[in-house]
Amino acid sequence: GENVGLHLPTLSVQEGDNSIINCAYSNSASDYFIWYKQESGKGPQFIIDIRSNMDKRQGQRVTVLLNKTVKHLSLQIAATQPGDSAVYFCAEKGMDSSYKLIFGSGTRLLVRP
């Protein structure tokens, strides 16, 4: 079965607050992880990635944290804006399937004005 696990929950946050979206993965051999954002009616859009030799990576308003001990990945969005409303997916690439990106089932983020 698929290795990356998110049941599609909905996270509702107030505009300006920070958001944290979590993801669990089961394949300890995976060495590369990506967060994607999918707006309604559009394709997934790359947000940020992280390799397994790192535990934190920061972008513009976003931070990805990787905890390999418990196989957990999180995406933190600072000062959440209405334009951040979307479905967020984590994805992994395994060392044994170097061409294949395996997606979790997504989390819907709703930003309240």
């Binding site: 599609l8 990506i34 009616g41 394709g43 790359f46 390799r51 994805a91 170097s98 294949k100």
Partner: protein
Amino acid sequence: DTAVSQTPKYLVTQMGNDKSIKCEQNLGHDTMYWYKQDSKKFLKIMFSYNNKELIINETVPNRFSPKSPDKAHLNLHINSLELGDSAVYFCASSPRPGRGGSGNTIYFGEGSWLTVV
């Protein structure tokens, strides 16, 4: 100047028909993909081609036949459409195959909404 473009965006067709979805990328990438997204938003890879050569076939029914005339195009032909084929199909590309890393991001098209009635 769309990076990964796919047509048609919407397709409604009857069971048993044959249909094609076309995809083109103007990013100069070597690797292209087809992903399927079901009604629960779950995204799953179907095929991957590197420079016109098939490198991933995820046990997709043989009614689905990808064709890559050149490395900028990866079309998806579906024979004898079934109700369960209704989904959103995403084309994607990346600079090269292999594990991720800086610059090897996968870029997705806008999706093709297929409804089989």
